[in-house]
Amino acid sequence: MSRAVAADRPAAGRSLRHRLAAVGLDRVVLLAIPAAATIGLLFVYPFLYGLGLSFQPLDGGGVFANYRAFFNDAYQASTIAKTLRLALPAALLNVAVSVPIAHKMRRPMRFKRLITTALILPVTLGTVLVAEGLIRYFGPQGWFNQALLGLGLIDAPLRLTNNYVGVFASLVITGFPLALLIVLGHASGIDPDVEKAAATLGAGPTQRFWKVTFPLMLPGVSIAFMLAFVAAFAVFPSAVMVGNPSGETRVISIAAYQAAYEQFDYPMASTIAMVMAAVELAVIGVILGLRSRLYRGATSGGKG
């Protein structure tokens, strides 16, 4: 009916809004164009440029020479495992801790705003500031060790920085708030009556969590995990400052940095960046694959 009416009028007389509506678009969608263009210019173009560069090794040897060099050099190739060893457990821990906290914080409770602020604060600090704090607090001369030494609980300072532990701690501090925000945002959309219904149907607290709440939280949990993982996988400042950048925390971004700014081998640096992207995409692919097998719909019963 309305289509017929619209067709009767000359096309020139119709507004932009009507013409967009005819192809299923809203005018507001146009606001996304600058952002999309920026992504195109600042992300897609450098990415493709880097991809091209990675196939043009400085010393020749064929298109895949850089990739061969990276994977044949154990010192370089091991950075993948080292980074995964940091990023996967850190992301998992951040998400695992977020789930029970978000589950409790869905309900109205006292000091909720204060607690949220305290938990979210690390997001506003840069990773550098967090690393600084870790050195001052957990370093050999830090308050933590001094206090334990003073109390006579230990004889020598615990090694908590300049190794795996330091970097892992910094990843938890900076990654946890992000994970919590996402899980909490998703969990607050779950209708609280659903849990009450489960209770009246005879499900105890444990059953309610595993059979109802957790399945409904899973989509948010998987997004939080992916973002926490990607953020942790690109770890750089803390791996240098509170890690052991030539040993156990020589993460893949350090390898890329060294190739680019110490050896001035841009094609090799691009190659490492591409490997990094491939690993991230592989992990995200696995999560998305698992997710597609689970419920992904609304968190409340539809037309409420």
Binding site: V194, T200, G202, A203, G204, G301, K303, G304
Partner: protein, 361 residues
Amino acid sequence: MPDPKLRHLRIEGVSKSFGGQVALSDFHLDVLGGEFVALLGPSGCGKSTMLNCLAGLLPLGAGRITLDDRRIDTLPPERRGFGMVFQNYALFPHLTVRRNVAFGLHARKTPSDEVGPRVERSLEQVRLTEHADRYPSQLSGGQQQRVAMARAIVLEPPLILMDEPLSNLDAQLRTELRTELRRLHQDLGLTTVYVTHDQSEALSLADRIVILRSGRMLQVGTPEEVYTQPAGAYVAAFMGYRNLLPAQLKEARDGRATVLLAGGQVELDGVDRTGDGVGDLVAAIRPEDLRVGGGSGGDGDRNLIRCRAEVVEYQGNELVVTAEAAAGLSLQLRTRERVAPGDELSVRADPARVLVFEAAS
């Protein structure tokens, strides 16, 4: 009709406050097996609080609840074994209709060979067999609420609690589902406590109605009792007495009262329901009990009010007229006569249908 699973639910002196605000005070009720009891009142009257206390979703402030002499108010909701139906359905969105209905059976560790047949039977009872494999979001509101009912009745609970189950549905579906609710209640011998703010729902469904206001019980009675003999002005207003006219007592004798309205300009005879208080009074009259074109009543000018039609609303087989009488007294009446705004009317109220209450009752 099958035997109810419960003989006697007793609620004794239940109270509940939220941060100093009294939500429910001294609630007493005995529910017999097979009864359909409606808790009726506006939002904030305490009816949902009472239901949540029954379900175990809220701890009691004071009082006790016993089921066949077994104390249950200290049990968590999952151990009371009641069925509950929520206003917003509260279905599990990640489970199919069939698995929603089976949820309670699994939670209560029902032998697995029993689960399938019982789920199928409940789905038949709410006529949803063909939607068993859908997800809640693929169903209409009415269908979702029927799933919620199936989910509750499949457990054959001693008591079913319903918290405004029809409020989210459109008018036509509401009447349809109302009939279905009553049919299920009768066919399955359920005992039901039903919360609603809609008096027509309470009147049509319930065997007994409890009317609440600000956490207090105002009246308990059969639908006919609360409809024809409201205990006070507030209940009367809820039961369709749209005209609550401020009045002064002229004389009261033998259960009859004569009151003066509009500063003495109108005199009205009615049924004395003031008790022995001496406060301000109201005369309560239903719009349909005000008849246009008095005069010929036989007893002269008794209970005759002269007024002028202000607003006339057409409602199909009748008109709803808002009219103004002397001294700003506003009346609402229903009539089949032709009335136009501005018409001078004289309306008569049957003295047996005018109730005189204390204004604060």
